[in-house]
């Protein structure tokens, strides 16, 4: 809905992702006049277009159902220079033809001083990136908030960026509960009390936990039976399987269906059993006090008197690659930037003040970009053994959480483990790739080696059916979300390349620290150990043209990492204005009516998937703003 120019609101929010949507809804419910500026397209009346794009796509990557389109009709990438509200795609993460560095293909420009491209992507559309999220809703463990206090003293080589948060677990406990009820999380409290996570007495999640999958059950039985064998080398905790709390209906809830196991959470749940922020956007709209202007790109934050933000300028467009259709500015009492941890610093850096850029007295805007670099290992259970029937159920129903905390954090990054229910789909393109192997007489994936001399065979008919069934029903994979350290040289700046509206695109300098890489090594060893315990044969291979490759510090060879989709850290919160962008209430040190919402404010990436913490912080922020405006 396009409103009149130069309108005045109580609150203007940039970004309609989960952060902006939650803040808007809460404030709308109290009668405050709220405007959301969203760079991308509006909430569609149904999923027809999204699902059609998904079904028709050859590469079903997380961003594929959503607009703007990534490919032209002929199959080549659209040049991001002509796209008005472009966004990155994992499909450019390839060394082939130097695609990852080619500004005609890649929206975010990799800084040549960095070692790698940033591996995670986001969406610019109603509901933002959590349209394509998995749905995992974990709380951080208490030590995540106080890494320096707990672990620095025993460390020989403490990463300087690994700081304490200015808030702790207890400060967020009630907000976590609020977020779990607001979004609709399925879990059982009994399963979630570990590593210091506690709940208020009598607390219940809104829906019971999602049932486990056959893969989960196998790992769980095995760990219980063999718990002395399955331990990490530097940690005494035996591994155990835990239900993953998820914003996924385990019952009819919110007038949406219960999960039907479409195994498609990323990139989209066809029946919206998985929560996505368009639900909150719709609820915000129904308060009658929230307007949303789509295809409206915030282009500059304007500072007025006394350091207060006076207005936000915007550019509007109608066609994804068409000309701008309008410009204007909006004023408000309070401004919230909720545009993800790459677009938020981009906007701040585009907005000049007398002696620098907006909210950047600390010079930390854009710095400390983090992800959970993701290590993936995959294996096949023995043919004589049981089948686990992957490609069924939600993508992930359980994980291994015990490895998220322990004394080893003095030395190396912690991680948590996803147990994948989708076989080798994520790392190895199955079931397509293995099917092609067996039909086309190749063995790129590994299992087609029962021909003479362990060579490939070209199968057909009954033999093909049986072999495919045997292989596909025994596949599984593990994913390790490694805690990346904050590093102020990992940063978002403005590139010289522009987008379709003439605004400078993000430039990203990115690397992994030694602490993080040591976490990767531990992850690999843990994967190897788990596979051995199951008598599973590992088929993990290196993807050679993946630019996200580094040499393992233990000399064991090159390793790939993937992005977990967790974009974090570029406007960190802190204790003082010299070392942070916002205070513990997410307010800018420089501008009393400017707040930042979303994972940009995380001082560390911690060990949980970030969305629940984002939601908790946003509900707390909404309450803060409400008091501000009272």
């Amino acid at each position: 809905m396009i409103g009149p120019k130069n309108s005045h609101y109580d609150v203007v929010i940039v970004g309609s992702g989960i952060a902006g949507a939650l803040v808007a809804k809460r404030l709308g419910l109290t009668g405050k006049r709220v405007l959301i500026l969203e760079a991308g397209a509006s909430v569609p009346p149904n999923f027809n277009d999204y699902m059609k794009r998904f079904y028709s796509a050859a590469a079903k990557v997380p961003e594929v159902p959503y607009t703007p389109e990534i490919f032209a009709a002929g199959g080549e990438f659209f040049d991001p220079a002509v796209v008005n509200a472009g966004r990155p795609t994992v499909l450019t993460l390839s060394r082939f033809q130097n695609t990852w560095m080619d500004p005609k293909k890649t929206y975010c420009i990799p800084d040549p001083k960095g070692a790698f491209p940033f591996a995670s992507t986001y969406d610019r559309v109603a509901g933002g990136t959590s349209n394509h999220w998995l749905g995992t809703c974990l709380r951080n463990v208490p030590n995540d908030f106080q890494m320096r206090t707990v672990y620095q003293s025993k460390s020989g080589d403490w990463p300087p960026g690994l700081v304490d948060w200015p808030i702790n677990y207890e400060g967020l406990n009630k907000w976590y509960g609020d977020a779990e009820h607001e979004i609709g999380v399925s879990a059982d409290v009994k399963e979630q009390e570990y590593l210091g996570i506690t709940f208020p007495p009598g607390y219940k999640y809104p829906m019971p936990g999602i049932p486990s999958s056959k893969v989960d059950q196998l790992l769980d039985r095995t760990f219980r039976a063999k718990n002395t064998e399955v331990r990490m080398e530097d940690d005494d905790h035996p591994l155990s399987v835990k239900q993953t709390p998820a914003a996924r209906n385990s019952q009819p809830n919110g007038n949406r269906r219960a999960c039907a196991g479409n195994t498609n959470c990323i990139p989209i749940c066809p029946i919206q059993a998985k929560y996505d922020p368009t639900i909150t956007l719709n609820e915000a709209g129904d308060t009658g006090h929230v307007d949303i202007w789509y295809r409206t790109v915030a282009s500059e934050i304007v500072v007025g008197e006394n350091g207060r933000i006076a207005a936000i300028k915007y550019i509007q467009y109608r066609e994804d690659q068409g000309p701008p259709t309008d410009t204007g500015s909006v004023t408000a009492k309070v401004f919230v930037i909720a545009a993800n941890a790459i677009e938020t610093p981009r906007l701040l850096l585009m907005s000049k003040t007398r002696n620098g850029t907006v909210a950047n007295g600390s010079k930390m805007v854009g710095k400390n970009l983090m992800d959970h670099p993701y290590y993936v290992a995959w294996a096949l259970l023995p043919e004589s053994g049981e089948q686990v029937w992957p490609y069924r159920g939600p993508l992930i129903t359980s994980g291994i959480e015990v490895c998220r905390d322990g004394q080893f954090r003095s030395n190396r990054a912690a991680f948590r483990i996803d147990i994948g229910n989708e076989g080798w789909n994520f790392p190895a393109g199955d079931p397509y790739a293995t099917t092609v192997d067996f039909i086309n007489n190749l063995n790129i994936n590994g299992p087609n080696n029962l021909g003479t001399g362990r060579k490939a065979e070209a199968l057909f008919g009954d033999a093909l059916v049986k072999r495919l069934n045997s292989v596909l029903t025994r596949q599984f994979r593990l994913g390790f979300l490694v805690e990346q350290t904050p590093d102020d040289s990992n940063c978002v700046t403005l590139a010289k390349e522009r987008d379709g509206l003439g605004l400078p695109r993000p430039q990203i300098r990115y690397d992994l620290s030694a602490y993080t890489k040591r976490g990767f090594v531990a992850a690999k060893r843990t994967a190897d150990k788990i596979f051995n315990t199951l008598n599973a044969k590992q088929y993990t291979y290196l993807i050679k043209d993946n630019p996200c490759t580094f040499d393992a510090p233990d000399g064991s060879g090159p390793m790939n990492f993937f992005g977990a989709g967790h974009i974090v850290g570029t406007c960190r919160m802190g204790h003082t204005k010299g070392d942070s962008v916002v205070d513990s209430e997410l307010r800018s040190w420089e501008h009393p009516n400017l707040y930042i919402a979303g994972s940009s404010v995380f001082p560390t990436v911690a060990t949980a998937n970030p969305t629940l913490t984002i939601a908790a912080l946003c509900l707390r922020l909404a309450e803060r703003i409400r008091r501000d405006l009272a």
Binding site: M51, L93, S250, N262, W389, R392, G393, N440
Partner: protein
Amino acid sequence: MIDSVSITDAPDPRTATMLELSVSDGPNAREILENTMKVTRRAALSRAIAIVGSSAAGSLLRPESARAADDPAAKARMQNFLGVSEILTGISQIRLSPQRDPIDIKTTYLTLVTNRRPVVFERLLQKYGESRAISPDPKMIGAKLLDPSEPKVCYLARSIMLMWYLGVWYEPEDLQLAESTGSSPNFSVISPAAYTQAWVWRVAQAHPMGYSEWHFGYWHEDPPFKLENAILPEGTP
């Protein structure tokens, strides 16, 4: 737009569904393929896409099903196509082509193959007839169709198998090139309906990712159907 190989078709009055498929066979297809990223074995990162642009040449393709009922030659042709498909895929004809078939993916596939490789497909059907005359043993017939000494037929046969299994189209020449270089061939999705009718998922006793017709909690149990229930005639629905 990420496009698919498709066939423009009038709404099928028999089933009141729109088989929405648009043909793509532009003259620049080869060139475009070469200009796109090579498909490599990848995780979520560096996969290339073979996208074939669409053209409006819907009239090239005539839905065969509307004529099959009346036209014995068309019916026989479909029968032969199903016979070939059964032998190659290992999935019974009655599963590939149920007695009542609202989605009718077999017609989509037959039309596609006939239009993309009319000459080689004729040769394949001929070879099928000849082999069957010698022996009805499916293993022997299959081996003959997949005999690499006649590569055009062999790789078209593989394209047909992959069409049934994955709902996507691989050009036979791409399969041949990929085999000789040990790489991954390009492909394009035929249609959303084809994706949902792909057989590999049923062979895995699962469902296409993004298309489950099952109910909450099913994944907690073993699959309720055995492999044989999915691919053999016994207990045909």
